[in-house]
């Protein structure tokens, strides 16, 4: 028996392919939405991996530097280094801000780190690591900065000496790494007018400016201008110790919060990305319904256009299941063309997205299965219409 569906598709392949391309673009958008979500999750994991830490020590009762504001003293790490199981401990700061480059501004996350310690970018794609203590930066390639370019962070210019990749915040902002001291200053430094006003207020306060205590005012003023806070301490656990045990000890003996890699991943993915995931999930559901409606409409219209032929086929003895099979195969064919076009489209346009889009094969396979099921369901309307056709309509009168 010949394939009626195949012949019909070949007969009107232009219309079929064009329809499939239209559907494919919609499927491509759906795959991309799924890829955006996967990209967010992957970015979160990469962010944690690239920090090189086993434990994140943050302000008590907060959820860490990526989820909430966290501020701890920059000497906490010394106490941590003395604890059993802690191999390395280093301060880090995170600050999302606009970084100026000439007339242009880029939204970035500025990371302050100590050279050779956890928090340093894991690898470079160009340039070198920081060698000087101040005013050098390593930027993620997504910032668009080039080696040797000068960028402005708050009051100071920094030279881009290295480029790294896949270093973005949980919000997708590319990172710029600068020395910790510079980052602390950038994060907590007040402007000149505020400093003058603060000094005047301190000087006018009789409790802080006692005539009989000559060094007091200078000491108080100095404490106001020097910042000793960081957002987190990254801890590397020594060989033979588990992060969970060390984190428990830190929580027990220090007045801070400590998260292991698994806990931090849970915060990032299940709390930070959760709302975005629901948002994308809604889009996916809507796009699936729209795709189903389009397939149903197209197949239904195509079937209505063949009512007379279907009546003739039924009159000359074609089984209902052959006719239903023809319509079902066409719907599945349309879905297959749409999926192929969608997959190719998503693969081609994904790199152009500002955020990382991760297209996973497993997602594509799931999408193919869903497309096929949706097409099969969408064809039922047309099949129902075809089965209701009375073969008598082929005979005049």
């Amino acid at each position: 028996m010949i394939s009626l569906a195949g012949r019909d598709i070949l007969h009107s392949w232009g219309k079929f392919v064009l329809t499939g391309v239209g559907l494919g673009l919609l499927i491509g958008a759906t795959l991309t939405m799924a890829g955006v979500y996967r990209g967010m999750v992957d970015d979160a994991r990469v962010l944690l991996t690239n920090s090189g830490a086993d434990i994140w020590v943050v302000q008590k009762d907060t959820q860490g530097p990526y989820a909430e504001s966290s501020s701890i003293r920059d000497d906490v790490y010394r106490g941590l280094l003395g604890m059993p199981g802690v191999a390395q401990a280093a301060n880090v700061t995170y600050l999302t801000m606009q970084v100026r480059h000439g007339a242009r501004e880029s939204r970035t996350m500025v990371v302050g780190f100590e050279q050779g310690q956890p928090g340093e970018p894991g690898y470079l794609v160009a340039g070198r690591r920081l060698l000087r203590g101040h005013f050098e930066a390593i930027a993620d390639v997504k910032t668009g900065f080039k080696l040797g370019e000068r960028i402005r962070i708050r009051r100071h210019d920094y030279e881009v000496v290295g480029l790294t990749r896949r270093m973005v915040s949980s919000g997708g902002d590319p990172m710029v790494f600068i020395p910790l001291k510079d980052a602390q200053e950038a994060q907590f430094l007040k402007d000149n007018d505020a400093i003058i006003a603060d000094r005047a207020r301190t000087e006018a306060n009789p409790a802080l400016n006692r005539p009989g205590v000559p060094g007091l005012l200078d000491a108080v003023t100095a404490s106001q201008t020097i910042n000793h806070s960081v957002n987190a301490v990254l801890v590397k656990v020594g060989a033979g110790d588990t992060a969970a045990n060390v984190a428990q000890e830190i929580r027990r003996w220090k007045h801070v919060q400590a998260y292991t890699r698994e806990q931090m991943e849970e915060i990032l993915i299940e709390k930070l990305v959760a709302t975005s995931a629901k948002q994308i999930g809604m889009f996916l559901a809507i796009l699936t319904v729209v795709s189903a409606a389009i397939v149903a409409f197209i197949i239904y219209t195509m079937t209505l256009g063949k009512i007379r032929e279907i009546a003739v086929l039924k009159l000359i003895g074609t089984r209902n299941r052959t006719i239903a099979g023809m319509i079902l195969q066409q719907a599945l064919g349309l879905g297959l063309i749409g999926f192929i076009v969608g997959k190719i489209s998503a693969t081609l346009w994904a790199p152009a997205f500002p955020k990382y889009v991760l297209l996973e094969t497993a997602d594509a396979m799931r999408a193919l299965a869903i497309v096929m099921v949706v097409c099969a369901l969408a064809s039922t309307l047309a099949i129902r219409a075809a089965l209701k056709v009375d073969p008598a309509t082929a005979i005049g009168g």
């Binding site: 028996m1 010949i2 009626l4 012949r7 019909d8 070949l10 007969h11 009107s12 007379r308 032929e309 003739v312 086929l313 039924k314 009159l315 000359i316 003895g317 074609t318 089984r319 052959t322 009375d390 073969p391 008598a392 082929a394 005979i395 005049g396 009168g397």
Partner: protein, 238 residues
């Protein structure tokens, strides 16, 4: 007579009670194998209803129909003799329509071969049968063409070939010459006569077409659901 088609006391009533309409009233017909008869009558006289009853598309209210040597319908013995009317239409009845209604996405050969394929014959055997019929109908040179590439006359010849594909004992032709000019209409009737004779098929031609009515040797006039048989002119087609 053992073959052909034999209709006895066929009636068809639509509706019930006061609104009932008797579309066919005690129709009797007998067409021998190889014979082509005309069925003529004004609009609403019951021609199409009769064709639908003969084509096993609608069920008569009363009567008896015999196809070949087999009773296919007897109202006094439970109606249709076979539950599978689709197979009955496929294997025992050929249809030729006013417009050819060829399947647009199948080429000429497969339009004809489709019926044997539906009946379970192999693709190669079905196509061989199709080519044989296309040869007989002088359209074999268009075997690979799409229906849209054929002229009206060629399309109608292909539809006749399709009707003959499963060698049915009867062909029902519904206004087969309506869209054709005189020359082509007469050509179609000539072909129907040739095929009836060659394949020993009984053919009923429902028509309004004044050009072809004189060519029938026997004509059934139908009026208000009743048929009257009369001899036709049987004019030779040159």
């Amino acid at each position: 007579m053992d073959d052909g088609i034999h209709i006895e006391g066929l009636s068809k009533r639509y509706g019930a009670g006061d609104t009932a309409v008797d579309a066919l009233k005690d129709v009797n017909m007998r067409i021998a194998p190889g014979e082509v008869v005309g069925l003529v009558g004004p609009s609403g006289s019951g021609k199409t209803t009769l064709l639908k009853c003969l084509g096993a598309v609608i069920e008569p209210t009363r009567g008896r129909m015999t196809l070949g040597s087999e009773v296919i319908y007897d109202s006094e013995q439970g109606g249709w003799k076979t539950p599978d009317l689709r197979a009955l239409r496929r294997d025992r009845i050929g249809f030729v329509f006013q417009a050819p209604y060829l399947i647009p996405f199948l080429d000429v050969t497969d339009n004809v071969a489709l019926l044997p394929m539906l009946a379970g014959r192999t693709n190669s055997a079905s196509r061989a049968r199709a080519l044989e019929l296309l040869q007989a109908l002088d359209v074999a040179h268009r075997a690979g063409a799409q229906p849209s590439e054929l002229s009206g006359g060629e399309q109608q010849r292909v539809s006749i070939a399709r009707a003959l594909a499963n060698q049915p004992p009867v062909i029902l032709a519904d206004e087969p010459t309506a869209p054709l000019d005189s020359e082509r209409a007469l050509a179609v009737v000539r072909i129907l006569n040739q095929m009836a004779s060659q394949y020993q098929t009984a053919i009923i031609v429902v028509t309004h077409d004044e050009k072809i009515i004189p060519t029938f040797k026997r004509i059934y006039h139908i009026r208000d659901g009743r048929t009257v048989e009369e001899a036709g002119e049987g004019r030779e087609i040159s």
